[in-house]
Every structure is written in structure tokens, then in C-alpha cells.
């Protein structure tokens, strides 16, 4: 049985539905990311799990217990806030000790646990410092230690790295992953940064407009996006309009002058084909023909923009000495059918994707 179950969780603000029938199961020890643009409902979902917002419908079950029936201070969850929300009038050690004090843990045990938690985040020297006199990264670590020291059944992280600079963020990503491996706590991470979600999570939950778009491992979601929104939100992609139809060799999708086999069963009609820029190569025959509009050298790779009858394509080729076409050259591009994803042309998700881009 799954550890955490969200069952048709719904939240409305007035006549706007922030979270719309979100259902999700999380296994024990898993690190799962809620990923999406701002306003997609990911933070609202987190707040409902934490108990800071009341759900308008649905259930949240944690380890077989109904979480929504409990008050926020009885749920026993660890939470790391975007602003860290440290107590400014307490030292780092006092901040970490707060949750243990609330649990009436004896002084000696408390001191030992606080020291262990500070050591886990690499701050053993900073126990008697006040948050004001610590850097953003250090405050972040205190917040993490404070949330972990109470041995929470679930750790919620709300955009925990968004206030750090790029270098520090990378460091903390590695740190967070290491800590997650060490303590094995089930974690839910809310983020709008797709690279952060992909770097940290066992699975990502891509959300848009209050609905889940796809739940998959980062690699799966990247390689086989469920729809145009996911394809666009996770890294750069080429989205080409086409027509799905039955052929002699099974289902195919026709994009301009090229035809590609479709592996999954699909109804005939308008569709879309998504393929990553780095998966596209130049071929001699059997591909989509076009003209090189521009080519840009980027050090390790070349970036091509290709005009085709199905629209403009972005192509990335490694800079490995192989011959590459020049600007204004007529070319033909192709890719392995495994590297593309075919989806129905859904006007709703397509517009959502454009908003996110």
C-alpha cells in the first residue's frame, strides 16, 4: 500500500479552481517533485497537505491515517519554507530545538539530537549564531535541520532553493540529495525550476492549471512527455503539427512531407509530434525537408534553426568535427521514432504550453 495518497484533492478560491481533482500516490522514502509554472496549484497542494489551507474536497491519507482530520500542529510534518521562516530571535540551535521542546523531549536527548541535526547539514560550528548573522545558504540548512530533527513522517519543501544564487543552489541540490539518501525521509518538493526537479527527484509531477499533466521519472517525462505542455515545460522541444492516420504498416503521423510510425494506438485526426532538438539529425532521405535559416556556434555544440513546411525547427548537433550544413542550404532532418512523442492536438494544453514558455 502506498505511503501517501492524495485522493481527488480540490481547492477553490471563489470561482477559480486552484487545485482540481489531484490524485497521487507516493511511496515511502521517495523524493517527488511538484513541478509547474506559478499558479499551477503546486504550492496550494502543499499547503493543504501541511494544513495551512483547508481542502474543498478529496482526501489525504498518510500511512493509513486521514491527514485532513488533524490540525496542522498535530500532523508531525517537517516543512521547509521558501523564506526559511526561521525564528529570528532564537539561535540556530534554539531554532532546531524548538520542535523537540514542543515534543517535551528531555534536555540531554534534545541537545544531542540538535547537535546531530546541525552536523547533518554541516553547521556544527554555528549553533549559537542568530539567523540574521548567517548567509542564505546557512539559513537554508538551519531550516532543513529544524524540519528534519523532529523525524517527520513527511518532509515538505516549498521552493527551498529559489532564494539562493546559482552556485549555492547547485551545492544545495547535491546536499539535499545526500541528506535524503542518509535519512531516507519521504519528501515532496515544490518547484518551478525543471532542472532542479529533474536533478533531485525520483519522480516528477508536472502540473498546470490545477491539474496533473504527467507523473513519471524525470527521464521518462523528458523523453516521452504525455502532452505538449509537459514537452514544452521540461526543456526545449520542437512541437510539429501533423495528421494521424492508418497506413499499411499500422498507425502513422504525417508531418508535412514526412511520415512517422506511431507505436501507441491513436485515433485518426489532427495530432502533434514532439522531438527534442538534440535528437534530430541530418539525413539523406526519408525525413522532413527544409532550409537552414541560421547556425550558431555554442562551444560544445551547434544550434541550427531550420525552416520546414511544418514550421521552424531547432536542432542541436555536437561539435565533433563531422560535416554540417551551411546557412541557406537545403537539408533533410530526421530522428529515430523512439525519440519522438506523438500526442493529440489538444488546444487547451497547447495554449498552456505557450503561456509557460
Amino acid at each position: 500500500m502506498a505511503y501517501l495518497v492524495l485522493d481527488q484533492l480540490t481547492k477553490r478560491f471563489g470561482n477559480w479552481t486552484a487545485v482540481d481533482n489531484v490524485s497521487l500516490t507516493v511511496e515511502k522514502g521517495e523524493l517527488i517533485s511538484l513541478l509547474g509554472p506559478s499558479g499551477c496549484g503546486k504550492t496550494t497542494t502543499l499547503q493543504m497537505i501541511a494544513g495551512f489551507l483547508d481542502a474543498d474536497g478529496g482526501r489525504v491519507m498518510l500511512d493509513g491515517q486521514d491527514l485532513l482530520a488533524k490540525k496542522p500542529n498535530e500532523r508531525g510534518l517537517g516543512i521547509v519554507f521558501q523564506s526559511y521562516a526561521l525564528f529570528p530571535h532564537m539561535t540556530a540551535a534554539e531554532n532546531v530545538a524548538f520542535g523537540l521542546e514542543m515534543r517535551r523531549i528531555a534536555r540531554a536527548d534534545r541537545d544531542r539530537m540538535v547537535a546531530d541535526a546541525l552536523k547533518l547539514v554541516g553547521l556544527e560550528q554555528y549553533g549559537d549564531r542568530h539567523p540574521r548573522r548567517m548567509s542564505g545558504g546557512q539559513q537554508q540548512r538551519v531550516a532543513l535541520a529544524r524540519a528534519l530533527v523532529i523525524k517527520p513522517s513527511l518532509l515538505l519543501l516549498d521552493e527551498p532553493l529559489s532564494n539562493l544564487d546559482a552556485k549555492m543552489r547547485e551545492e544545495m541540490q547535491i546536499e539535499l540529495r545526500r541528506i535524503q539518501r542518509t535519512v531516507g525521509t519521504t519528501m515532496i518538493l515544490v518547484t518551478h525550476d525543471q532542472s532542479e526537479a529533474m536533478a533531485l527527484s525520483d519522480r516528477v509531477v508536472v502540473m498546470n492549471k490545477g491539474r496533473i499533466q504527467q507523473v513519471a521519472t524525470p527521464q521518462e517525462a523528458y523523453d516521452h512527455p504525455a502532452n505538449a505542455f509537459v514537452a514544452n515545460f521540461l526543456g526545449r522541444t520542437n512541437l510539429l503539427p501533423g495528421m494521424v492516420g492508418g497506413g499499411s504498416a499500422g498507425t502513422v503521423i504525417t508531418v508535412a512531407d514526412s511520415v512517422w510510425p506511431v507505436s501507441q494506438p491513436m485515433a485518426a485526426g489532427p495530432g502533434a509530434l514532439a522531438v527534442r532538438p538534440e535528437k534530430i539529425g541530418f539525413v539523406d532521405a526519408g525525413g522532413l525537408s527544409g532550409t537552414v535559416l541560421a547556425r550558431v556556434f555554442q562551444g560544445t555544440q551547434w544550434l541550427f534553426e531550420i525552416e520546414t513546411a511544418a514550421g521552424r525547427l531547432m536542432v542541436i548537433r555536437q561539435h565533433d568535427g563531422s560535416p554540417l550544413p551551411a546557412e541557406r542550404e537545403r537539408v533533410m532532418v530526421g530522428w529515430r521514432p523512439d525519440d519522438m512523442a506523438v500526442m493529440p492536438a489538444d488546444p487547451d494544453t497547447a495554449s498552456g504550453a505557450r503561456e509557460a514558455a
Binding site: 496542522p72 500542529n73 498535530e74 500532523r75 516543512i79 523564506s83 521562516a85 530571535h89 523532529i150
Partner: protein, 309 residues
């Protein structure tokens, strides 16, 4: 000769490295003083000069037949220190001020906190109601209280109607009445001051404490209160200073019977015409006010050092 020339060229070559950096356009050293001169002048003319003159006046002597005599002595101070009547007045003044300050903190701090948690249209409306008293003249506000407080006033009639009391409570010409009226007048200052410190409070901090297992009361006591102490303290300083030197409210509600330092000084100036004694009362009130406020400030700042950093 050639050696001399080469040494010279060497010196020239070294010169830029050792010479002081290119001089910035010189700043006129008087600029800061000049810029703050208008403020300083205003401060001097309107505050410093009257204060010094009041102090000098307090050193003069007074007799019923001779009037004010231009001698320098400390007889007035000695009189006040020796006379238990003055002790009583000063004690009453600071007792009223202290009680009013505590009441303002007790009402004002929760009021500000509740106001902050209100939703948008109500918050503005309630803030306006809280600050409303500041828009009305102290005198008319206090006269309003006088109407309510009388033995046949609304408050007593209401309480008797409810059966809570059998005989009217004495509000007029009592400390209770003065304290109630002053608290009403001064509570907006506390609300504003606490409001300002609440603005700096991270709203997520309360949620963080909740998530760590703290009940709502513990969150208040351990997390919110320590962070708004600076606001309560600065509000208390304002309220205490205004309450200790309040004139209109004690004059109307307290009347001639219940004197405080400010009404005492007023009487000495305008009724007894003993200006030096009135000036002495004023100077002592100022000194006592400053000593009490600075002392309390120090005490609380030391206790909550981290919050004030």
C-alpha cells in the same frame, strides 16, 4: 651626468606608483552642518530655548507681594522635594501613566495583531475606526467621556440597567475615569507602533512553529510576542510620555480635585501666578519622564537584545 639622468627617469617612472591617488574634487567640510542647519535652528528655537528659559525660571524665587524675583537659587526644588503634597501629585501622575501604558499594551498589541490578520476591506475599515480618535480634538473627545461618565451618564445607567451594579460608580474626578479616558486617547499610538513591527514579521514563521507542533498559544508566546516587543516598547514610550504629560484629559475628567503634574504646573502658572514653582514642576516632570523611559528602554533592550540587533 648620464647616471643622474637615468636615476631621474627612474624616479619619474616610479612616481605614479608611489604618489597619492588622483585627488577627488574636495568636499566642503561644512556641507552636512549647512544641510541640517534649518532643522537644527527649528529645534533650537522651538525646543531648546524654551526649555532653557523654563529651567532658568525654575531657579527664580517668588513671593506674594514681590512677585518673581530674579535670584538664582534651588529653593523651589527643595520645596517640592520636602512637601508630601507634591509627592502625591507626582506619584499619581506616574501611576496613571504606568497603568495607561499597560492597558494600552494589553489592548493595543492584540488589536494590531487581529487587524493584521483581517481580510482586505475590513482591515482598512477597522484601522480607520482604531485611528479615528486621533482625528478628533482631545478636548471634545474628553468632554464626550465626561458625558458618558456622569452618575446619570450612559455607562452608569447601562451597568445599572444590566443589574451589574447597584449604585453609580464614581468615574468623574477619579483616577479610574482619567485612566479610561487616557487609554482611549492613546491606544492608537500603541496600535500603530505594534502594527509597524508586525509588518516586518514573516507570515510563514507562525506556520513554521505550527508545523513543529506548537499550539496557537505557544506560537503567540514563543514566536510572535518576542518579535513584536520592539513595537510594544516604542509604543509604550510614546504612550507613557504622552500620558505623564497629558493635560486636557486630567483637567476635564480629574478636575481641580485630582491633580496631576501637568495640571499642577498649569495652576501654579495661571492661578497662583507662582511661575517659578510651575516651571520647577515642569522641569521635574521632564527629568522624571526621561529617566523612567530611558531606564525601561535599557532594561527591555538588554532582555531582548537579539530582536533589536
Amino acid at each position: 651626468m648620464s647616471m643622474a639622468a637615468s636615476t631621474e627617469s627612474q624616479v619619474q617612472a616610479n612616481a605614479p606608483a608611489t604618489a597619492p591617488p588622483p585627488r577627488r574634487p574636495r568636499r566642503w567640510p561644512w556641507t552636512p552642518y549647512l544641510l541640517s542647519a534649518p532643522g537644527l535652528a527649528l529645534f533650537a528655537v522651538l525646543l531648546l530655548v524654551p526649555l532653557v528659559m523654563t529651567f532658568l525660571l525654575s531657579l527664580n524665587s517668588f513671593s506674594f507681594y514681590g512677585g518673581i524675583e530674579n535670584v538664582w537659587q534651588i529653593g523651589n526644588y527643595a520645596d517640592i522635594v520636602a512637601d508630601s503634597y507634591f509627592h502625591e501629585v507626582f506619584l499619581r501622575t506616574f501611576r496613571i501613566a504606568a497603568v495607561v501604558t499597560i492597558l494600552c499594551a494589553l489592548f493595543g498589541a492584540p488589536e494590531a495583531y487581529i487587524l493584521r490578520r483581517m481580510k482586505s476591506p475590513w482591515r482598512g475599515l477597522c484601522l480607520l475606526i482604531v485611528l479615528g480618535p486621533l482625528l478628533i480634538s482631545v478636548v471634545s473627545r474628553t468632554l464626550g467621556w465626561a458625558l458618558l461618565f456622569g452618575s446619570t451618564g450612559l455607562v452608569n445607567q447601562g451597568l445599572m440597567g444590566l443589574g451589574l451594579i447597584a449604585t453609580p460608580i464614581e468615574f468623574m474626578y477619579t483616577e479610574t475615569g482619567v485612566i479610561i479616558a487616557l487609554t482611549h486617547v492613546l491606544v492608537p499610538f500603541m496600535v500603530l507602533s505594534v502594527w509597524a513591527s508586525l509588518q516586518r514579521l514573516d507570515p510563514q514563521v507562525e506556520n513554521a512553529a505550527l508545523s513543529l507542533g506548537a499550539g496557537p498559544l505557544t506560537v503567540m508566546r514563543r514566536v510572535v510576542l518576542p518579535q513584536i516587543v520592539p513595537g510594544i516598547l516604542s509604543g509604550s514610550i510614546i504612550v507613557f510620555a504622552l500620558a505623564a504629560s497629558a493635560f486636557a484629559t486630567p483637567a476635564i475628567i480629574g478636575g481641580r480635585r485630582l491633580k496631576v503634574a501637568a495640571t499642577l504646573a498649569y495652576d501654579e502658572f495661571l492661578n497662583t501666578l507662582n511661575w517659578p514653582l510651575g516651571a520647577t514642576v515642569a522641569v521635574l516632570l521632564l527629568i522624571a519622564n526621561v529617566v523612567i523611559i530611558v531606564g525601561c528602554n535599557r532594561l527591555v533592550e538588554r532582555r531582548y537584545k537579539q530582536v533589536f540587533e
